[in-house]
């Protein structure tokens, strides 16, 4: 009798504790779900959701279900600021995932002011490294990749370059880096030409750069890559086309007009079973951005786990401090945060026969 009563009490107690733990913890995601950046933004969203669903399937973090509220910013900075305020004022989220340099730079001062952890796993403008103490970049800025690319290109004998860059935060950062790194490596920049985000007619820009007779075209664009490749091919241009991880676009890789394109690629891999599960769920391959954000979500969940273990409230400040305290994470690849920005191994890839192949590994 006593045992049963004791047992009932214990059961009741554990149920109560279970009730107290069954909260939903909400994070935010401000990504381009429509517009020229939608392909990448949707992949990023899927990456995060995939990780969160997996965690929830295992019972959540300390019994708490995780929910991510996604807001569409169309890669526009002003939309992002409005969404940021909405998520922090209405939903009181402690962590917001972000992508694309312009929007992230716009939100960075707000993140500092409101003490919300901003997690970037896709944008690479150099300004991001110092934009806010509350901004964590899980990938290096474009400056690192361009330095590697420049050295390799000059080593291959491509010394005369012409720059094609997109007129926004990411593209202009890339352009500035090319202007610095390419001459540093021993090359020479002959010309530069700007394009717009969402532009699909690259012929005038291609023609103008071709007129400078470069060995290689140094590219920093994030949208319209496929059109650019096709028009490059149609115009019968022969110089090498080089870029950074922005080039990792499945449609462009598959298209024959991109044969011979080279680019740096931040190394990130997913185990085959995971990639297969992702494909089964979302119908597309798990490519670069999906992997990046899956990995970033895992980092956030690990941090959340530690914050809850230490019985701390889930605030932006605590998540930020704990993340930097943990420092070393095992996402899809090992990452270390010595500063706000992680450093990652870089490969040189070339596009051949519809595939993107690594031809050199750089640490």
């Amino acid at each position: 009798m006593r045992g049963t009563r004791f047992g009932m009490a214990a059961l009741a107690a554990s149920l109560l504790c279970g009730q107290a733990n069954a909260d939903t913890i909400k994070f935010g995601g401000i990504l381009p779900l429509t517009g020229p950046g939608a392909l990448i933004g949707t992949a990023e969203m899927h990456g995060i959701q995939f990780a969160v669903d997996q965690a929830n399937a295992k019972g959540g973090v300390h019994g708490n279900k995780i929910e991510v509220q996604f807001e569409d910013n169309q890669a526009k900075p002003d939309q992002s600021v409005l969404s940021f305020n909405k998520l922090t004022d209405l939903e009181h989220v402690s962590v917001i995932f972000t992508g694309y340099s312009g929007p992230t730079l716009a939100m960075a001062p707000l993140a500092t002011r409101k003490k919300v952890l901003l997690v970037n796993a896709g944008a690479q403008a150099d300004a991001l490294a110092k934009a806010s103490p509350y901004l964590i970049n899980t990938l290096p800025t474009i400056g690192d990749e361009i330095a590697v690319l420049s050295k390799w290109l000059v080593g291959e004998g491509k010394k005369q370059g012409a720059i094609m860059f997109e007129n926004d935060a990411a593209g202009m950062s890339g352009r500035d880096d090319y202007l610095r790194s390419f001459p540093d490596a021993g090359g020479k920049v002959l010309a530069q030409e700007a394009t717009q985000f969402g532009q699909t007619d690259f012929r005038p820009a291609l023609l103008k750069l071709a007129d400078a007779k470069p060995d290689v075209m140094l590219v920093a664009i994030t949208a319209g890559l496929l059109q650019m490749a096709q028009e490059y091919h149609q115009l019968g241009l022969k110089f090498t086309v080089a870029g950074t991880t922005f080039f990792a676009d499945p449609a462009t890789i598959a298209d024959p007009s991109s044969a011979g394109f080279v680019h740096t690629q931040l190394r990130i891999d997913a185990p085959p079973e995971l990639a297969a599960q992702f494909k089964a769920k979302y119908g597309v391959d798990m490519e670069f951005f999906a992997k990046q954000y899956y990995s970033a979500a895992q980092i956030v969940l690990t941090t959340l786990d530690k914050v809850l273990s230490e019985k701390q409230p889930v605030t932006g400040e605590n998540m930020h401090d704990t993340l930097l305290k943990i420092g070393k994470f095992q996402g899809l690849i090992p990452l270390e945060f010595k500063t706000n920005t992680a450093s990652v191994p870089i490969d040189i890839n070339v596009m051949r026969d519809g595939k993107d192949v690594a031809i050199k590994h750089i640490q």
């Binding site: 429509t34 517009g35 020229p36 939608a38 392909l39 169309q74 007129n167 030409e193 700007a194 394009t195 717009q196 969402g198 699909t200 007619d201 012929r203 005038p204 820009a205 023609l207 103008k208 071709a210 007129d211 949208a223 319209g224 496929l226 059109q227 096709q230 091919h233 149609q234 115009l235 019968g236 007009s257």
Partner: protein
Amino acid sequence: MLALQLLATGVVTGCALGVVAISFALVYATTKIFHVAHAGIYTLAGYLAWSLVLWGAPLIVAVVVSIAICTAFGALIQSQLYARLERRRATHLVVLIASLGALAVIQNVIAGVYTPNILQFPLAWSGEVLPLGSVRLTYVQLLTIAVSLAAYVGTMWFAHHTILGKRIRAVASNPMLADITRLQPQSVYIYVIAIASALVCLPGILVPMDLGLQPYNGVTPLLTATIAMIAGGVGSITGAFVLSVAIAVLQNLSLLVMPGEWSIGVTFFIFVIFMLFRPTGLFAAAR
């Protein structure tokens, strides 16, 4: 040579723009309505054709069906929106705002249904190139030139040699007299918008075959075409077409001397100056 290639691509863009200009000019000269929703029909044509091709229809069938649907849609806008406003004696401002609203509706329905992502026409031959000396043009670009010139010739012939064409020109030059002499301006308006909508389907399909589909891409070509129409002199079909080609070629050639991102800005700047000093245009028809 760079200049020659830029000239060639300018001619291609200009020809497509020319058809937009003459179709818009037809509507404006006749009905005096600033039919900005025309940009919506231009956009709609491309998406309809794309869907049909995606479902397996041969290109020519897709084009014909798109034209049919867009013609009907244009006539609908005239009969249900503009005609009603005319009956209520709405001011030009009101009609213009209504047209802006219609444009917003069309563009955003397309964006909602098709997503705002850039879509490509699934045609294997669209990227194939024909080298002409030092100039390289794709088959789509050559087709654009051919079809646009044919459209221009066709429209000129229609305006001067058919009864409906002459009726349209009569209504355009004097609506009140046309009303009295029982030329029935209102039904002429419907014919005009229908024809204009059919015409604008041609560049509406050809340009995206070359550059891809985006829902909000119709406004800038329409405005540039309007500038061509005004600069060429309202009422002159030839003026509209020629100026369109001229503007496109100038925009392309301007790249030789300035960075590309300023070329559109310069076009509008020149237009504004034009408006201040010679608002009647270069080929102004006697009004």
